[in-house]
Each structure stands twice: as C-alpha cells, then as structure tokens.
Amino acid sequence: MSSVVDFRDAVVVFNGFPALAEASIEVERGEIVLLQGPNGAGKTTLLRACAGLMPIVRGEASVLGVDLCVDRQSVRQRVGLLGHANGLFADLTISENVLFWAQMVGASEGEVASTLHRFGIDGRLAEQKVMHLSAGQKRRCALACLVVRRAELWLLDEPHAGLDAAARDEIDAIIREASSAGATVLIASHELERSRGLATRSVSVIAGRVVS
C-alpha cells in the first residue's frame, strides 16, 4: 500500500528562503503524526505543502498518490487543513456552516445531522451563530466541516491553541475517532505533552528538515 504522505528531499521556498530544505517524511494511512520543533522550523510550511498550497521546487512529493510536483490542485479536495483560523462564516449557524461544505461533496442532511451529533454540536447549539460560540465550539465546528468534506488527510496546525483543558480533551477525542475511521492526521503543535499522548509517532522539524 502506498504512503499517504511521501516527501523525499523536498524543497519549498518561501519569500526566497528555503522553508523546507530537503525534507523527507513518510506517513501511512491511519497514523497520527506529531510534528514538533521551534517556531520557524518549517512545520506550517510542511502542512501547507501537503495541502498543495506551496510549490515543490526540488525533490519528490506525493500526497494520497498525487504527485505534487505535477498537480497541486486535485489533492486539495481530499485534504483538510485547519490552521490558526477556523475558516467559518461568523454570521451563519453551526448547521449552516457544516451544510455549506456538505453541499460541495453532495453529503446528505442525515450525514450532517449525525456528524453534528458525534461532535456534540447538535440540537439548539447547532442553530447558534458561530460568532456567539466559544473557541472550543468553533474548533469542533471546523473539524465537523472536515468530516463532512470527507477529508482523508487532516493537517492540523496548533489545534489546541486557545482552548481550555476540557475543549482540548474533546478535540483529542475527535482526532482519535477520525484516525480510527481511516483518516490520516498530521499535527503541528507546541503542546508536546498532550500531543505525544495523542500521536502514534512524532517527528521533529528543524531548520526545514524532518528528523525522526
């Protein structure tokens, strides 16, 4: 079986600077991999490169069997990237936000309802505007959008940032559930204690290189 993520000596240049310098990493389906390292080491760049957002200028890189050196567009529909922003529409309710993404892939209303239920954002909460939610509820809503989009590879950049302990536990449970359902997860985090407990493997990103 081919790897979900397979980077070999990949180089990504950002603002004239090699943000990824001959980085190599291989991730198998269902793994939860923690990317750890100091600020500016290239963790976010690696996630964005996996999402097809940054061009690979040298080396080899494939995600979900798509060669990113040739095609960076088609992989995007199968990948979910959650960065510091949640990517939600503040004036819409939770259910409307999730339905928006469900429409894109033709997911049924039943699928949306079951996802909202699984994430604990159903019932009256689902009819709340996103602008009135707590940080943890917004994060759960954003992750629910990834689920209805049927993202096969989750790329999470500091998913615990700004959340209290209870909300962090909820996010961890969602990530574990997604992994057991077949999704592959890459997490860039400074929350090493928590993320190590969650991850099946951790690697370090240092000066644009991946160190096992």
């Binding site: 995007r76 529909q77 922003a85 990517g87 529409f89 004036d91 819409l92 429409q103 894109m104 892939v105």
Partner: protein, 231 residues
Amino acid sequence: MSAQHSLSRVARAVAAKDLRIELRSRVVINQVFPFAGLVMVMFAFALDNDDVLTRVAGGLVWLATLFSLIIIIQRSFAVDTADGALEAQRVAGLDPAGIFVGKALAVMVQLVTLEIMLFVAAVVLYRVQLNADGTVLLVTCVLSATAGLSFVGTLYGGLTAGSRGRETLLPLLMLPVVAPVLIGATRATESAFTSGGAAVSDGWPWVGVLVVFAAVFGLGGILSFGSLIEE
C-alpha cells in the same frame, strides 16, 4: 471528485451562503440602502433645480449605485476573510470560477434591489417620466449594467481581499475600470427617461456596450479568479 466540486454546485452554494449572511446581518439593508437614499436626497438639495435634476437623474442614480457597490463588495469579501473562510474554500479546492460566479450573483441580487429603490427615489424626488418603451430599455440597461458592475466588483474584491489598505485600494482600482458602465448606463437611462430631448432608441447602442462589458468581465473573472485568490 472534481465533478462534485462543479462550477454550478459551488456557485449556487456560495451565492446562497452570501445572501443568507446578508439577510442575517442586514448590513446592506440597514446601512447601504439608507446611504444610497441619502446620496440621492443630498444631490437633490445640492442641485435644487427640477430641470437640472430631471436631466441628470440617470447619472445620479448610477453614481449612488457605484458608491454603494464599493461597500457591498467590501462587505462580501470581509465575511469571507474574517476567519479565513476564503482561504478555506481555496484550500478545499473549490472551483474558483464557481466562487466567482456565486459571489457575483449574490452581489447582483443586492444591487438590483438597491437600484429598484434608487429609481423609485428618482421618480419621486427628481420627477422623471417613464413610458412603456423607456421601461423596457431601463430594465435591460439595469440588468446588463448590474452584471458588469458585479463581475468587475467581484474580480477586484478578490484581488484586494488579502491586501493591506484594501478599503482604499478597492475603489482606486475599481472605479476607473467601471467608468464605461457609468457612461453607458447613464446615457441609456437618460434615453429611457427621454431627458434632455433624448429618444428611447438612442439608448439601445449603449445597452450593447454594457452587454459586451459584462460578457468580457464575466469571462475574464471565470478564467482569472483562481489566480487572483491564489497566493
């Protein structure tokens, strides 16, 4: 998979989402409509001459529309950029042409609603006359000019969405480009109102200009919007 993110599916979802956000927030209804109405009233105070007002009514309506367009476009992209939703759509590989068409459709609906209010205000405040032939010309002019304005607005809204100083950059870039719409729509509207001795038939060539303008920018937007919102 790409068929699932088809242009029409994305366009419908984006247009419905933008209109739903507007209905919820009522920014256009509560702020832009009163602003445009106020502009019409202020013009009436400033010119204070029925003959002059009747002659320039068409131009005033379209000027008020242009000013309002700037606010509508800024609002349309502000709701998408506030929490990274525009980037989320790009990252998810949604067809950028679908995003462009959807956002332009939502802007069109808001603009047409605004223009109906402005033309009613012109009839009441400026006492312009409108016969049956003029009404047909006016409706065609409104639809074609609105399409052109919405396409250009959405295109430049996407271009400036992620930039610093976008509030001032958008009008600086967009207004010179929509000058042909202002000229064409004003001439066609003057003909529809038969103001200044113009005949209704004089307005149809200007409508042709508006249709060509809308077609060029509609096609241009569909082809280039992806590159504009891409890093």
